[in-house]
């Protein structure tokens, strides 16, 4: 059956809508003009400026620390959760599943507010640590959801076959289930890493003095003066995202 041409045209318009603004950003990141809306020749000046901006570099380092640590924690907690939910039914499982979905569905602003209130009340100074905790909380349910979906799709007979061939339940899990889950786990970790790297609102509420991350820094730049530097930074961030999606897609395909 041939798909109707107006549908194809509408889809093309959608993709144009999604990509044109980003493309414009990237193009103008090479603009020599300080007044960024007029094209005044090609330049790499703004990229050069980025790499000498100390505050930006330290924000990048902070972002990477928070993203890495929270991803590792979210990965461990998420896989545990997925396995427990699928293989080890427990009392209050229904209630737990609702609570698990909450960090994903409630507005980020609410999550930020709750975290801020909590850390202030328990007198834990806002820092990289508080941010790591917050990021772990919004990331591990995501990992749990993705890994669980993958676990559900596995043929339960494979584990039975392992067990029939003499493997104990744990060995069957380690030798058969875990390797088959691995693409899902890696995909989930990449997703968590990206979510953490991109998060602004929750970081904004839980970051302390000196623990500024990249998105917080970008937000500051957008709020003050828009310079071509932001375009250059944006272009780099877009490239990083594309790389991460490409890796995630490739891993999932395997």
């Amino acid at each position: 059956m041939k798909t109707r041409s107006w549908l194809v045209a509408a889809s093309f318009a959608d993709l144009l809508f999604l990509y044109l603004p980003i493309a414009i950003l990237v193009v103008f990141s090479f603009n020599a003009s300080k007044l960024s809306a007029r094209w005044q020749g090609f330049s790499l000046e703004w990229y050069a400026k980025l790499f000498t901006d100390q505050a930006l570099l330290s924000a990048t380092v902070n972002s990477l620390i928070v993203a890495t640590v929270s991803t590792v924690l979210a990965g461990a907690l998420g896989v545990l959760t997925a396995v427990a939910l699928e293989r080890q039914p427990f009392r209050w499982q229904g209630a737990f599943e609702v609570l698990l979905l909450m960090p994903i569905v409630i507005p980020e602003i609410m999550m930020g507010v709750a975290m801020l209130l909590f850390f202030v009340m328990i007198k834990l100074p806002l820092s990289l640590l508080t941010m790591i905790i917050a990021h772990t909380i919004f990331n591990f349910p995501v990992v749990a959801l993705i890994v669980r979906a993958r676990l559900r799709k596995l043929d339960p007979r494979l584990e039975e076959a392992a067990s029939d061939l003499g493997a104990t339940p744990w060995v069957a899990f380690k030798r058969v289930t875990l390797p088959l889950l691995m693409p899902g786990i890696v995909g989930a970790l990449l997703m968590a890493f990206t979510l953490s790297l991109d998060d602004f609102i929750i970081s904004f509420f839980t970051a302390g003095v000196g623990s500024t991350t990249l998105p917080i820094k970008v937000y500051g730049m957008l709020k003050s003066a828009v310079t071509p530097e932001v375009n250059a930074l944006s272009a780099i961030l877009v490239l990083v995202s594309m790389g991460l999606v490409a890796v995630a897609t490739w891993v999932q395909r395997k």
């Binding site: 959608d14 007029r38 907690l77 080890q88 209130l117 995202s241």
Partner: protein, 282 residues
């Protein structure tokens, strides 16, 4: 057929459950508690029970913000649905190799930094921005256009931000739809519009509902988009909460606002689950 259970696996759930309850359940409960407390003289919290934080939401000033948020969220959802359906349909019907590429194209914005994507529209819509510059260069306008800091700008930003959330579940639902059903409808004399309303739409309903809920929820609670594209005149609930927390420092009122927002979100989620959801989510 019950899956094999892991011996001693009973304790697997303890670390995640403990983490979630301590660092998420408790903070949420705190917000609820504080929403019934009184604001202290210097912006702190006094534990004197009051319903005042909730009743003061009835102020027309705040109601207008709630109303705008709801209106913008609904509009965003409808526009995303109308824009997203053709794209999802085309992807689902594309040859296998193209499906992968097209999906990839929809997923990339999904993973791209939200601030950057919002900034792209600031760059385009600013009064000295790209659109203004191009239009005046073409001689169509003579003075800078007031595009940024309007509800329209916020709407564009929201649709731009959440369109992939609509396309992905729609695609998932449409991909499962057996093409021979459409052919059968044709064979039974249905016209294209009838094929759509009688076969395609009913069978993709779970995807439609999932997509709408996934767009509606973050739109309702949006903060970054109205903050950057809307400014002071286009505040949404998210901005009001942030304002109360970080500027006015009225935490009890901010908490009450959060809970009203959450009630709206949970209503949407409940609707979604009752409509047989969760399958289209991922």
């Amino acid at each position: 057929m019950s899956p094999i259970q892991l011996g001693g696996g009973r304790w697997l759930i303890v670390p995640p459950a403990a983490t979630l309850i301590l660092f998420f359940g408790v903070p949420l409960a705190l917000v609820l508690a504080v929403s019934f407390a009184t604001r202290g003289t210097y912006g702190g919290i006094e534990w004197a029970f009051t319903l005042g934080n909730y009743t003061s939401i009835a102020d027309p000033l705040y109601l207008r913000i709630f109303w705008r948020s709801l209106w913008l969220a609904v509009l965003t959802t409808i526009i995303c649905l109308v824009m997203g359906f053709p794209l999802a349909y085309v992807i689902a019907r594309a040859p296998q190799r193209w499906q992968g590429i097209l999906l990839f194209l929809v997923i990339i914005p999904f993973w791209t930094n939200f601030l950057v994507r919002t900034y792209a529209w600031m760059f385009i819509l600013r009064s000295e921005g790209l659109l203004s510059t191009v239009l005046s260069a073409l001689g169509l306008t003579h003075e800078p256009l007031p595009l940024l800091f309007t509800d329209t700008a916020v709407l564009i930003g929201l649709v731009y931000g959440y369109l992939p959330f609509m396309v992905l579940p729609l695609y998932a639902a449409l991909e499962r739809l057996d093409p021979s059903l459409i052919e059968a409808a044709w064979d039974l004399y249905a016209r294209p519009l009838q094929v759509f309303t009688r076969v395609v739409l009913p069978l993709s309903k779970p995807g439609v509902i999932a997509g709408c809920v996934l767009v509606f929820i973050p739109s309702l609670g949006a903060y970054v988009t109205p903050d950057l594209l809307g400014g002071a005149r286009s505040m949404m609930i998210g901005n009001l909460i942030q304002h109360q927390y970080l500027v006015v420092r009225d935490w009890p009122f901010g908490s009450a606002l959060s809970f009203v927002l959450m009630a709206g979100v949970l209503a949407a989620v409940l609707y979604y689950l009752r409509a047989g959801g969760e399958r289209g989510l991922l």
